[in-house]
Symmetry: C2
C-alpha cells in the first residue's frame, strides 16, 4: 500500500488451441515486450484462454438438448443446445427467468449461465466452459512461469467477466488464484483513530481482476495483464475463500 | 486500451472537517507529491471524506430509535440508534436478517446498512451517511479541480466499499461519477472473429474504483487515488446508469 501500482497489458498472445502451453506462450509474450518478471508480480489471465488451452470447449453440433433445456430455451429465444450445456455445468439453479439462468456452478461459483460462453474455436461455432479447477489451473501456470522466469514469488489470477445483482454492467472477477491470499482481513485491526475496523474483509483478488480488465478491453486480443507494485499477502489461498457460505448469504 | 495504467496513491490528506474545501485539499496534496493533473486523469475519492466535508455525519447521542429500530437492533446485537439512522437512509428493505439490513437507499443503490458507517468525527462517536447526491458531489469536485489545474477533461469517481451476494469480501464500487460514462457498451460491436459481442456492458467506473482501493488500503489514511493512462469514454454520465432496473433484476 502507499506505492504506485502499474497495470501493463501483455500483447501478441494469439489464438490458443487445445493443449497449448500457456506458460510458455505468456512468457514469450512478456519477453517480446521486454518485460522481465519480478518477484511479487501478479499476472491476471482471462478464463477464456485457459479454458481453450485445457480443451474446455464443446461443439454445439454434438449436443442433444434435454426437454428441460428445450423449454428454457424457448422462454428466452436461446439455442437449446447452449442451454443444455449450461445445465450440465450447473449444480443448482439459483434463479431462472426468460431464458437467463443464474447457476451455482460445479465449483461453487454463482454466475449467469454457469460461465458458459459462446466462442469461436478453430472456425467452429462452439462454447467455452470454465476450467474444471481454476485454482489448479492458476497453480500450474504459476509453477511453469516461476520456473521459466527463475522466480519464486509470482501470483496468478484467472479472471472472468460477470454481471452482478442490482448493478448494470459486468466486472472482471477472480475465479482462480495461486500464490496469494484472495482476501485481506482487516477485522480486529485498528484504523488511525484506534477504532476497531468492522466488516472489513477486502476481496483484493476481485479488485486486481477488475483492475486488469481496464487494459484488456473486450474487442482487442489482450488476455493477460501484469500488475506490478501491489503488496499482496503471499500464501496458498484459493477462490474457495471467496465463496460466501450459504448460511450467511441472503440471496440464494 | 493497450497502454499501461498507473494507480497512484495521494497522501497527506488529513482529517476532513464539515465545510472543508475538498477540491483545494486534494489539489494541494497532489502538488505536495509533485503531481500535475493532466487531461483525462481520473481521481477516485472515497465517500467518507466527501461525506465529512459535506457534513453528512450524525452524532449518535441525538438519535431516538423507533420501536422497529429497537427490534431489529436486538436481533443483531446492534446499537438501536445506528439501526434507526440506517432505516432513515433506506427507501426499501431488500433483505433483513439477524440485524443485517440490505437497503435500497434513497439514491437507489442497494447495499448493506444504506451505506451508513461508524466513524470518528472530531473525537465524537458518530455515523457517516452517504452524500445526498454523490454524482453532484463528483461534479462539484470536478469543476473545482479542473479550475485549479486549468484542465477541462478530468474525471471524478466517488467510491465506497461494499459487500456482494455470493462472494466473501468487500470491493470498492463507484457511487458518484463526473466527466465520464460509467459503462462501456460493447453490444453490437464485433470481436476479432467478427462475432457480435453478447451481454458485454462493462462497468468501468466500478473497475476503476476497485483498482483505486488497491492503493488506498484500509488502515492508512489514503482517501484519494489518481488513475492515469486509462482511455475512458468522456461524457456526462451518472451512476444512475449503473443501477439495474428492477424489471431485469432477479434479486430484489
Amino acid at each position: 500500500m502507499g506505492t504506485e501500482i502499474r497495470i501493463i497489458p501483455i500483447k501478441g498472445i494469439g489464438e490458443i488451441s487445445p493443449g497449448a502451453n500457456l506458460g510458455t506462450i505468456i512468457y514469450e509474450a512478456l519477453r517480446n515486450q521486454d518485460i522481465t518478471l519480478q518477484q511479487r508480480d501478479i499476472l491476471v489471465v482471462t478464463q477464456k484462454i485457459v479454458s481453450k488451452a485445457e480443451g474446455q470447449t464443446i461443439q454445439l453440433t454434438n449436443i442433444h438438448p434435454s426437454p428441460l433445456a428445450q423449454t428454457i430455451a424457448k422462454q428466452g429465444s436461446k439455442d437449446p443446445r447452449h442451454v443444455e450445456v449450461v445445465l450440465r455445468e450447473t449444480k443448482r439453479i439459483v434463479r431462472m427467468d426468460r431464458g437467463i439462468i443464474i447457476s451455482e456452478t460445479n465449483h461453487g461459483f454463482i454466475c449467469a449461465n454457469a460461465g458458459v460462453d459462446e466462442s469461436n474455436v478453430n472456425g467452429e461455432n462452439s462454447l467455452t466452459l470454465l476450467p474444471i479447477d481454476p485454482d489448479q489451473s492458476a497453480q500450474e501456470l504459476r509453477t511453469q512461469l516461476q520456473a521459466l522466469a527463475d522466480k519464486h514469488d509470482i501470483a496468478i489470477i484467472i479472471s472472468d467477466t460477470w454481471g452482478r445483482p442490482w448493478r448494470n454492467g459486468q466486472v472482471n472477477m477472480a475465479i482462480g488464484v495461486a500464490g496469494m491470499e484472495p482476501l485481506i482481513d482487516y477485522r480486529g485491526r485498528r484504523d488511525h483513530y484506534g477504532y476497531e475496523m468492522q466488516a472489513s474483509m477486502i476481496a483484493i483478488a476481485d479488485e486486481l481482476a477488475a483492475a486488469a480488465e481496464l487494459v484488456m478491453g473486450k474487442t482487442e486480443q489482450i488476455p493477460v495483464a501484469l500488475i506490478r507494485g501491489y503488496t499482496y499477502p503471499s500464501g496458498a489461498g484459493t477462490t474457495r475463500s471467496l465463496m460466501r457460505e450459504s448460511t450467511t448469504d441472503m440471496f440464494r
